[in-house]
Amino acid sequence: MIKPITFIVDGKEIRGREGQTILQAALEAGVYIPHLCFHPDLKPFGSCRVCTVMVNGRPAASCTTPIAEGMIVESSSERIREYRKILVEMLFVEGNHFCMVCEKSGNCELQALAYRLGITAPRFPYLFPKREVDASHPEVFIDRNRCVLCGRCVRASRDVDGKHVFDFAGRGPEKKVAVNSKGRLAETKLSSADKAVDICPVGAILKKGEAYMVPVGKRAFDRKPIGAEIEEKGTDLQS
């Protein structure tokens, strides 16, 4: 039998199961903790740190920290909110995010996090790095200007599609998503039906010919903040 575990998030009691992470148990209980590199269909990776919470007074990534009986988690306090804002702002200045011309705008998880956190401008100077675009593939392109190095494509291609099309190359500011061919995306086995293509949270890996299909106002995050569905589920669970 799987052992039930009770712990506290922001003063609220949450019941999870042994083996779950804080993020998994919270989401299941209808408590939204902002996150970016985590995806329910993939193994946790713990790279973006957007899901950081205080666990018994110390910061930890909620997507990789297993729950324990009586654990006290702080997720929506002022200081955690501020940490998250800082992290998301850094993601914006580290890349080239021209939302006004981005096909993903309105459906982008990074942008939606910034909206939810009420970010109107980052506090750090923009780096405007030089990044490569690869549009060689007939159905898919990768625009590294918008990549946040979340590793979702790497994990999805390796663990779900079984192709290992993507991997990281380089370190620090040089780190980038590389493809497993000498040359370009066109020479890999990538298909537009791959999980790796659908799972990018931002506009870095996109299918061609599908841009701007949904009108402004009807896109995923036009009216409701990211996480709203989870929180609605939470309200239903309580009533």
């Binding site: 021209f98 939302c99 705008s105 909206y115 009420g118 401008a121 405007f128 009216r223």
Partner: protein, 181 residues
Amino acid sequence: MKKPRVATTSLAGCFGCHMSILDIDEKILDLIELVDFDKSPIDDLKEFTARCAIGLVEGGCANEDNVRVLRDFRKNCDILISLGDCAIMGGVPAMRNGIPLEECLREAFMEGPTVYNPERRIPDDEEIPLLLDKVYPCHEVVKIDYHLPGCPPPAEAIWKAVTALLENKPLELPYELIKYD
């Protein structure tokens, strides 16, 4: 009572944010009850005539004249607002930031596929302000007090911001009014 003054300008912008100011529709009549415009393309005043309560800046800094105007706004306005994505992060003009300036000019005036320029001369009249190495967000040049994102920012966001600040209230934008597109 003397009305507070508002100044506006478009630096490296497309005037879209100014269109959004006008997009407050009939509230524009309320606005001119509330404020007087000072230096602004709306009344075509070229220089400041008095101290302003609020300055609205569209566009980032792409050339030395943009920097001069922005500093002038900082000097003459109590509250300075970056209006729109170009003021906040450079916007479309900043797409040149990854390309060396010389290469941009060569492509634009000499080598672009539709360029006709037999003298192969890059415009260098002294009336033309010098370009900066890259396009800078306004808050990287002077202190900016508030940012209203959007391309353009919704008219409602501009209205809410200006009226709240004039009444000395905190500026709180609801979810629907913080948008980057």
